[in-house]
């Protein structure tokens, strides 16, 4: 192993990437873990916002629909980097102003929580549209059958609409999840120690830019490949009961 690395001239890189100091591998992995935590939280929050948003857009009153339209339009219109700067600084500033106004001390807002909130709000806007489309794709007759048999509205949503829309929503949600994992890199700009910031620090301390950014790229790729597996499994489950499109014959 060592010989092969030496032969390829990678022995130095391997040392730099070692998990324990003086190697920087541990830092990278910690960054990855932070990134994943934020992506996970933001994606989950996005799903919840998206579900309420989609139902609100489809069945809500005119005021709610207008408010949701403003939300999805504005969030999707503004570049995410700008949104992160706005939401992060304005958000923390507002919270601190509120805290001091109510007589509390200024609070230190944890990077993870702020990251989840900021990206969650962005994800929620996209998820609203993904889920709205998916709900609309559910054959109305299936929802009508649930009503005709006396299912209350919430049970209809839980037992019929959501499972039936899953197959339509999964591809779009898989995209959103991958975007979430990569959007965490944008949080580097507000100084949050996620994978990209850790990589930059490691690279600039050691001048081994290529090694570290390649390693970070490989980590992002691993996350994507693993996510692909998971979403493939979810999609097969969500599409149970539907004939394969390859077969052609329903």
């Amino acid at each position: 192993m060592t010989n092969v690395l030496e032969l390829l001239g990678l022995a130095e890189s391997a040392e730099l990437l070692a998990l324990s100091p003086p190697g920087w591998g541990g830092n990278l992995l910690r960054g990855l873990l932070n990134s994943l935590q934020i992506a996970f939280g933001a994606f989950g929050m996005g799903l919840i916002i998206g579900l309420f948003g989609a139902y609100g857009k489809l069945y809500g009153g005119p005021v709610l629909r207008d408010l949701l339209a403003i939300y999805t339009t504005v969030i999707r219109a503004v570049p995410e980097l700008v949104l992160i700067l706005i939401l992060y600084y304005v958000g923390t500033d507002l919270i601190n102003k509120a805290a001091t106004a109510m007589g509390y001390d200024r609070v230190e807002i944890s990077g993870i929580v702020a990251g989840i909130w900021v990206l969650g709000i962005v994800q929620g806007a996209y998820a609203t549209e993904v889920l709205r489309g998916a709900i609309k794709a559910v054959p109305p007759g299936q929802i009508e059958a649930a009503r005709a048999y006396g299912m209350p509205a919430f049970m209809t949503m839980r037992r019929v609409t959501i499972p039936a829309m899953m197959s339509f929503a999964t591809p779009g949600l898989a995209n959103l999840w991958l975007i979430a994992t990569k959007d965490t890199a944008l949080l580097a700009i507000v100084g949050f120690a996620e994978l990209t910031l850790e990589t930059r620090q490691a690279a600039s301390s050691t001048r081994a830019y290529f090694t570290f950014f390649l390693a970070a790229g490989a980590l992002y790729l691993l996350v994507t490949l693993f996510s692909g597996l998971i979403f493939g499994w979810i999609e097969r489950w969500a599409r149970r009961g539907q004939p394969s499109l390859k077969g052609g014959q329903p």
Binding site: P139, G141, Q142, E144, A145, A146, R147, A148, Y149, G150, M151, P152, M155, R159, V160, P163, A164, M166, S167, A238, R240, G241, Q242, P243, P250
Partner: protein, 261 residues
Amino acid sequence: MPDPTPSASSARPEAIRISDLHKSFGSLEVLKGVSLTARQGDVVAIIGGSGSGKSTMLRCINFLETPKSGEIVIGGETVEMRADGSPANRKQIERIRTRLAMVFQQFNLWTHRTLLENVIEVPVHVLKMPRDQAVARAHELLARVGLGDKADAFPAFLSGGQQQRAAIARALAVDPSVMLFDEPTSALDPELVGEVLTVIRDLAAEGRTMLLVTHEMKFAREVADHVVYLFEGRIEEQGPPAEVFGNPKSERLKQFLRSVA
């Protein structure tokens, strides 16, 4: 006005009574005052041209459509309606709906569930029946409609006739007091109609109360106790099938029967 109920059955209790039902879609008046009574065990066939309001009438009974005005009494219980016709008591509607099983033209099975899961869904989750009891009953019902070996199949892999028979099993699973059939064979290929009609015929023979919107005139004549002919939102003529089909009085009904013959 003649008594709209079949005379021989007037001793049996009422299953459904509709009085002066009106329904509009926007400015289009689809039902212009329809009254109808079905007693327990009656098979009422509702016929009429497209746009005559027959499906709308059926869908008003379980409030899938909100009527504009009128009165609906199900098994002696009057449905509470607001002045605009919308149901005033959501809980009551949900309870009444569990007693009125509907079979749809497009089957409307839940495609993400197997036939067995479709059949036990309402008994388990709405009627809170113990699961094993519901499963045992579902197997019986599926066997009864000839799908005993398809319990674990998903609807999309079955023919239209099989799906509709499964939908009938789903309807029977709630042990309904009235079954509402909304053109149950209209979406089927001609060679699949027979298998569904056979199942419905058996249900009629065992004394199930049913309202049947249909285009199958021969079938209506054979199974119905009472036939109602709707024309432009009004009951144009009604009576025993032998009368309605054999000796129609209204010119429109005569014309209609000629056109579908």
